[in-house]
């Protein structure tokens, strides 16, 4: 019936809702269950095969650093080296929790609005500077400052949604990408204006904790991980159990049906971006107590978060958490064993991403849409 017009309609272009599904009306016999494969209790054979392939690939990916390391002699199997290995893997895992937390914010914005937030790393950077400013000017403990930086972030997210993102919801994905890219650049230059390009650090709980005789991690890593895990799990249950969380999930699955269920979708957009900004700022606080940062640091975190959510499956919450751990552990293995670390770490991260996408285009959790 109104297919031609519906595709031009004001509702989410490029998003598969029953409303925009072309030809559903003219070919009723084919309509059932198109694109409804996810959620089935069974899997197609090709899907099972791709899972095996993926498992084999992942084993190879994590074994590769060892192979190269043996070749270059960086792998020794003595007790001291195994201690290093344990330390590196553990701190990578702890780092993964923090990455995952701010990646979750990116995946939420994408899931609900189909906007790729290119400014996400700059939100993380903003969190780092807020924490730093509170620490140096007001003397507030970096973790305690979350009490007021998170509400600031939430309001900031809502303002960004209201002024910027609302204008691009439903537009082609490139539009949202460009707008947020512009926002990110603006934030970088504003930060340079205020804080200069000098690197800042926050000295916080730098002592290391001995886990076993040979494995040790720094206190601030443990603290960051615990906080990140607590926040991620909290947001997970918020989405799973609360009324507002269910409305967010429903909007992500099908905004128009959510609307006719009585969900005020505009309000959900505001809340989603508010939560995402809070997660990014919390991430900023947690990285600022471990690493130095300057206004341009955000770009690294944007790329990291991108990699994680594409790995895990765009718009998929648990996928982002798993992707975060996978990426961070692989990076730490590469940095330990392969000479010329930094470049190789990047190479390994994007190699992993590309290979996973070749095998499973939807990402690990294989979400096709919503």
């Amino acid at each position: 019936m109104d297919d031609r017009a519906e595709m031009l309609g004001p509702e989410k272009a490029g998003r598969e809702t029953a409303f925009s599904r072309p030809f559903a009306d003219t070919a009723p016999a084919v309509a059932p269950a198109v694109g409804r494969r996810r959620g089935r209790g069974w899997m197609e054979r090709s899907e099972v095969r791709s899972l095996y392939l993926l498992a084999a690939f992942l084993v190879a990916a994590y074994a590769l650093p060892f192979v190269i390391g043996i070749r270059y002699g960086t792998v020794r199997w003595d007790a001291e080296w195994l201690g290093y290995l344990g330390t590196v893997v553990l701190s990578g895992f702890l780092q993964g929790g923090v990455y995952a937390m701010f990646a979750v914010g990116l995946t939420m914005i994408f899931g609900v609005m189909r906007i790729i937030n290119a400014a996400h790393g700059e939100w993380v950077m903003m969190g780092a500077y807020l924490t730093w400013a509170a620490f140096f000017y007001l003397g507030v403990d970096p973790l305690l400052s979350l009490v007021f930086t998170l509400p600031i972030a939430f309001v900031f997210g809502m303002v960004v949604q209201k002024l910027l993102l609302n204008a691009v919801v439903g537009q082609p994905e490139l539009t949202g990408l460009l707008v947020t890219f512009g926002l990110g650049l603006t934030m970088i230059y504003v930060a340079e204006l205020i804080f200069t390009t000098d690197f800042r650090t926050i000295p916080y709980a730098p002592h290391s904790v001995q886990i076993t005789d040979s494995i040790a991690v720094s206190q601030n890593k443990l603290i960051s991980f615990t906080m990140a895990l607590a926040i991620s799990v909290g947001v997970y249950f918020l989405l799973k159990l609360t009324r507002i969380g269910k409305a967010i999930r429903a909007t992500a699955l099908n905004a128009e049906v959510a609307m006719v269920c009585g969900v005020n979708v505009g309000l959900i957009y505001l809340i989603t971006t508010g939560i995402a900004a809070s997660l990014a700022v919390a991430g900023g606080a947690l990285v600022s107590i471990q690493f130095g940062f300057n206004p341009e640091t955000g770009i690294i975190y944007t790329l990291q978060a991108f990699t994680i959510i594409i790995l895990g499956g765009r718009g998929h919450y648990l996928g982002a958490l798993i992707g975060g751990f996978m990426l961070a552990v692989l990076e730490s293995l590469v940095s330990l064993m392969i000479p010329n670390g930094t470049a190789m770490v990047e190479l390994a991260a994007y190699g992993l991403l590309i290979a996973v996408l070749l095998i499973r285009p939807g990402g690990l959790m294989g979400v096709k849409e919503g």
Binding site: M1, D2, D25, R249, V257, V260, G262
Partner: protein, 247 residues
């Protein structure tokens, strides 16, 4: 509004609507009285689904009045309209595929804060659609097409609406399930619900309807009781003639 002394539940007078610059509906008028089943039929592109969307405030309203129980719906948000007791079940068995049956129904009652009323509504839905009641924890996306349509209708009932608009409820269903969907529609109407439905399956829709409207190219073409339209030679030739598929 012609005929019927009672005030209609819903009336559209000379409503025009469209998507952006493209106008689909041209001064369409229709009304639905309390307890009626009214079918809107017509060929592709007639503006049947568009009629529902303009009522729900989902597309651009270009002119005319939409009045529901004394409320002017023009300019209201969909959630406000639902709050007035007008439910809409979109076309294509749209359920939240990754949510369970129960979660889908809870979403239907999103605006209802009273837990006991949600429970009552859910019990009613489970009585009407026993197959949903048998598997409240099943993920909706894994159910059959017919079950998903039942779930979408059940979700529409969760706010205890006075009126429900069903968009192509039989679309793509097997003949047996088509029968079941129409039976359930009649059952809902007997339960006091006013029903307006849009159907490609015109003959079946008119059989269960009190009255019907035929739209063509976004304009009113014919109207009458279900029987009159079924007997009208023009309507028969154009929309019902030959074998109506799927009936």
């Amino acid at each position: 509004m012609p005929d019927s002394g009672r005030a209609p539940v819903l009336s559209l007078s000379e409503v025009s609507a469209g998507y952006g610059p493209i106008q689909i509906l041209h001064e369409v008028s229709l009304h639905i009285d309390e307890g009626e089943i009214v079918a809107v039929i017509g060929p592709n592109g007639a503006g049947k689904s568009t009629t529902f969307k303009v009522i729900m405030g989902l597309i651009n309203h270009l002119g005319g009045d939409v009045v529901y129980l004394g409320h002017n719906l023009v300019g209201l948000r969909p959630d406000r309209i639902l709050g007035l007791g007008l439910a809409y079940v979109p076309q294509g068995r749209v359920v939240f595929g990754q949510m369970t049956v129960r979660e889908n129904l809870e979403m239907g009652a999103y605006l209802e804060r009273d837990k006991s009323r949600i429970k009552e509504a859910m019990d009613y839905v489970f009585t009407l659609f026993p197959r949903l009641g048998e598997r409240p924890s099943q993920v909706a996306g894994s159910m059959s097409g017919g079950e998903q349509q039942m779930l979408a209708m059940g979700r529409g009932l969760m706010m205890r609406p006075k009126m429900m608009m069903l968009d192509e409820p039989s679309l793509g269903l097997s003949p047996r399930l088509v029968d079941e969907v129409f039976d359930k529609t009649v059952a809902m109407a007997r339960g006091g619900l006013t029903v307006m439905l849009v159907e490609q399956n015109a003959a079946r829709a008119l059989e269960i309807s009190d009255r019907g409207y035929v739209l063509e190219l976004g304009r009113n073409r014919y109207q009458g009781t279900g029987g009159e339209l079924l007997d009208n030679p023009d309507v028969r030739a154009m929309y019902l003639g030959g074998g109506v598929r799927g009936a």
